[in-house]
Amino acid sequence: MTTPTEPTVSAGTSAPIKVDIWSDVQCPWCYIGKRKFEAAVAQTDADVEVEYHSFELAPDTPVDYEGTPVQYLAERKGMPMPQVQMMIERVKGIAASVGLDYDYEHMHQTNTVLAHELLHYAKARGRQLETKEALLKAYFLDGGHVGRVEDLADLAAGLGFDRDDVVRSLTEGEYLADVKADVAQAAAYGINGVPFFVFDGKYGVSGAQDSSTFASVLEELGAEKEVAG
C-alpha cells in the first residue's frame, strides 16, 4: 500500500517536511485551505513533500443525486433554504478571497469514494497533486461530476492517464482498500473534520487556517531540522 509521493519543492539538502493532508473532494474548506497552505509554502520557500489522504464527509450520498449542494442540504438534511443560501454566500466570499470562484449553481453533489480511488491511482503513478487540483477545480469551479466512473475517466484522460486503465481500476475497486485505510488512519488520529494537516507526524493543523499559521509551522519545523541536521 506504500506508494510514491510527489515533492512540491525540493530545494533543501535535508529531508523535506512531510505534510499529510486529509481532505474530501467536495469540501469547500479543503480547497480554500489548500490555497492558504500553498501560499505559506511559497512564502516560506519550505522544502515540503505533500501527500493527500482520503476522508469521506458524506459516504451515504448517492452517486446520482440530482441536485446541487444547496438542494442537498435543504432537502436531505432539513436545513432551511435561507440558512443554506446565507452559508453558501459566506463560503463563496471566503473562497473568492483566495482566488476561487465557487459555482454552487452548477455543482453536482455526489458520492466521492471513486474520486478518492482515482487519487490513489494517481498517487501510485506519482501524480496525485495535479489530480487533486483537477478534481477540486472540476467540482467547485467547472460544474464537473466527480462521482461517476466515466466522468472521472474523462478527467483523468485529460491529465494524460490511460482512460481505459482508469475505468478498469475504478470498476474493480483497485484502490478502495487504500481509501478505507486513509479513513481509518484519520479515525486513529481523532480527526473529525477536514481539511486536516499533519506536519512530520508531529503537528496537527485543523481547518482552513490563515497562511500565517501554516507558515509558522513550516518555519518551526525547518528550524528544528537545521538544529538536528
Binding site: V194, S206, G207, T213
Partner: protein
C-alpha cells in the same frame, strides 16, 4: 509557532496548533465560523470599492 496559535493540545500524539475556529467540514455540513464573517464583510467592501 505564531502567537495566534492556541496552547498545544495533544490529539493522539499530535500537537494541535492554529485557530480552533478555522473553517472545517464535519459530516455533510461545512459551517462558517462566526469569527470569519468579518473577513467576508471586508472582502465585500473591497469589491464595492472596485
Amino acid at each position: 509557532m505564531s502567537e495566534d496559535a492556541t496552547a498545544p493540545v495533544q490529539v493522539s500524539g499530535l500537537t494541535l496548533v492554529g485557530d480552533p475556529n478555522a473553517g472545517v467540514c464535519e459530516g455533510d455540513v461545512c459551517l462558517l465560523p462566526a469569527h470569519l464573517e468579518a473577513h467576508v464583510v471586508h472582502h465585500r467592501l473591497d469589491e464595492d470599492r472596485v
